[in-house]
Amino acid sequence: MIAVDRECAAVSRLFAKKSVRFKVPVRLKSENPIFRRKGSSFNLKSLREYQPFDDLRKIDWKLYGRTDRFYIKEFFEEENERFFLLVDASASLSVFDLDFYRRFIASLACIFLDLRFSLDLAACTHRLEESCLNLRHRRDLPRILAFLERLPFAGGTDLVPVLKEVRDRYRPTTLFLFSDLFDQRLELRHLRMFRRVFLLHFHTPFAGLPLRFTQVELRDPESRRSLLLSHNPSSRRRILEAEREFLARFSAGRGGCHYLRLERGAPRAPSYWRILETLYE
């Protein structure tokens, strides 16, 4: 049973107070004028004569004074920015602490909903698997939890076609990618197709593995292949060097790409806060 961190409510409440002077990222709800709905923004949609079913409070009295006729001003509807949460559900995530992983995603989604952001949630392996869209209120949280609970964590990882599909199908401006990044093809340039990307790397350091024997058989959960290692300082040194190179590929993100590495057992609340601060910069 997935639970949300208890700190989420406090984080969202404190951040709402802290950020009143910042500009809340808002946008028109629909970029296509045909589907834009009227709302309460300052973007004028239309000006028409008063009809009997209209609210009297919406009559433009200045126009009445000039024209002596009743007119109604209609504005486009606005909403806070919609985030796209892409969750890696490949088999390699089983190496990481799945409870930590699910709990982090659920908690961050809960904070976003508290701050009145809209969310789209999708799971992926080598393709887009399942999605949970149009999450706008706190009451949508059970849907998120159920979605995360259903994730099978099986199959391989191929994020490049998945990102292209997300871009083409959902066109998100801000993408949150939750993954262990165990993907051979993924590079930073593949993330530039989005205006803003939060790369949340759930990393299991090799040095933290409980190696006790001279011979270690490492089994890849995705390819199901095994690699026999001799646990000695020489091979360990080479693996750590490769791990450093691997981490350097993503941590050097610039511009709209924000990288955050999370390790098993690390406190989660500072990460929430850091993400929100980065978001409001």
Partner: protein, 504 residues
């Protein structure tokens, strides 16, 4: 060869067990191979490294097992094939010069008749400080002629009272493979040793066994030990008026059950005992004086016992009471139970003891016993001080003749300038010669006159001659084996250290 294989198989069992465990057990962990491709690309190197790591320990252990098996089975003999020649250093070896057993042994050594060209020469003697036998290293042998060899032995060897051949086992423990023992009393069976029988001295011999004042008889009782000497001992008394010795005719009685003869002398004075007939050059001087000046304590226990002898006055030069370090093999000896008294013993002379205390104190000539630790008799409580127990000799506990040997050795050591000192310091009439000569006077000088040194009746340790002298087998020298085993271990440590250094 079979023993080597058996030892090797026995040593291989744990090594194989370790190898099986190491090969069969491996840790299985799920972990993505995303950045482990570089390890996949070098499978041969990985294979070599893994194989080395798996089998390096086993290879080193196997090498050590082979070495151990070689050493244990005796195939690889690292002990040096050294030869030790040991001379019996007891008094009897020097008796009967110029044809003494010692001279005969030295002649054999000088002529190289022992079949050992290069050897190390030892003398089996007695250490008065430890109260046990000792081996005196005389250096390398086989290169000296007879006079030089004789001089070396006589210069270095102190006078011994007896020799215990069981001490020769120390030579085997030192790594000597062949030990030749030159003695006049060969043990009946000594399979480990090569015993060279030098034969006993053929010269008739006698020497004073005890000389002391018998308070019951109110006379001096002098006893002689006889060896092939059946004639009466000649007796002369020094006359102060005439300035010369005067012959006496005193009846001599044999002591039943022993080669001893005994005589009683009523008058004190300087007596000369000599062989009346024959070419023997035996001449003993014994001053017989009342036992008033005989007690001079040395050490805390002797001080304690000196208080028990009220008629004895302290003499500044007397050495009849002395604490001697003593290491007893008897575990019943209570070491350290009384502060300042542990490890000490005192031999009390016969004449100086009160009749009431006589049952509790053993005379010197009969004190071949262990000191006993018992309840203090009521008579001794007065002098016991804070201690409710003291050591004293229990006449019922006679079992060890080394007690007197220790005491006498200490006396001879204390008597600096005694028998080996310059003759000019001796008073007139005092004749002496070193104990290894045939003419032995067991007396030495002090400022107050000549002191008598009584010998024990026998020179023997408890070791009987007819006992089977089984010595420990020759031991392999541990140092070469240790170095041999250290080499693979050092190599193994070096390899592991290099691996670790590369890994840092």
């Amino acid at each position: 060869m079979s023993s080597f294989l058996a030892a090797l198989l026995a040593l291989l069992v744990p090594i194989l067990a370790i190898l099986i465990v190491r090969v069969r057990t491996r840790q299985r962990l799920p972990f993505p191979h995303t950045y482990l491709r570089s390890l996949r690309e070098r499978p041969f190197q990985e294979f070599l490294l893994r194989t080395f790591q798996l089998y390096a320990d086993v290879a080193f252990d196997l090498l050590l097992a082979i070495l151990l098996a070689l050493v244990l089975s005796g195939v690889l003999d690292l002990s040096p094939r050294r030869t030790a020649v040991c001379l019996d250093g007891s008094w009897s070896m020097a008796r009967g010069a110029p044809d003494s057993p010692l001279e005969r042994g030295l002649a054999k050594l000088a002529r190289g008749e022992l079949g050992a060209e290069r050897y190390r020469l030892f003398v089996l003697g007695f250490d008065p400080r430890r109260g046990g036998p000792t081996l005196i290293d005389m250096g390398r042998g086989g290169k000296d002629d007879l006079p030089r060899l004789r001089a070396r032995v006589r210069k270095s060897v102190p006078r011994f009272f007896s020799a215990d051949p069981r001490a020769l086992g120390r030579l085997f423990r030192r790594g000597y493979r062949r030990v030749l023992f030159l003695t006049d009393r060969p043990p009946q069976s000594a399979p480990s040793l090569e015993v060279v029988d030098l034969g006993e001295t053929r010269e008739p011999f006698f020497y004073p066994y005890s000389a002391g004042f018998d308070t019951r008889e109110q006379a001096f009782r002098v006893r002689f030990w006889r060896y092939r000497f059946d004639l009466p001992v000649g007796i002369m008394k020094y006359s102060e008026e005439e300035g010369s010795f005067r012959k006496l005719s005193i009846e001599q009685q044999g002591v039943p059950g022993s080669p001893l003869s005994e005589l009683l002398l009523r008058e004190p004075g300087l007596y000369r005992f000599y062989a009346e007939v024959g070419p023997l050059d035996l001449d003993f001087l014994i001053p017989l004086v009342p036992p008033a000046l005989e007690v001079s304590p040395r050490g805390p226990y002797s001080e304690l016992l000196a208080g028990l002898l009220p008629e004895a006055r302290r003499s500044p030069r007397g050495i009849l009471l002395a604490d001697v370090p003593w290491r007893s093999a008897d575990r019943r000896f209570p070491r350290g139970s009384a502060r300042g008294l542990h490890g000490m013993l005192t031999v009390v002379p016969d004449p100086g003891v009160q009749p009431a205390l006589r049952p509790y104190l053993q005379p010197l000539v009969e004190a071949f016993c262990l000191p006993c630790y018992t309840e203090v008799p009521a008579e001794l409580l007065r002098v016991g001080g804070p201690h409710d127990r003291v050591f004293y000799f229990d006449p019922r506990g006679v079992r060890d003749e080394r007690t007197a040997l220790v005491y006498l050795s200490a006396l001879s050591g204390l008597a600096a300038g005694g028998p080996d000192g310059p003759a000019g310091q001796l008073p007139r009439g005092a004749r002496y010669s070193p104990g290894r000569s045939s003419s032995s006077a067991y007396a030495y000088t002090t400022s107050s006159g000549i002191e008598v040194l009584n010998l024990p009746p026998e020179e023997f340790f408890p070791f009987p001659i007819d006992e089977d002298l089984t010595l420990p087998p020759p031991a392999s020298a541990p140092l070469p084996i240790a170095l041999l085993l250290l080499l693979p271990y050092a190599l193994k440590a070096l390899v592991l250290d290099r691996l670790h250094r590369r890994g840092r």
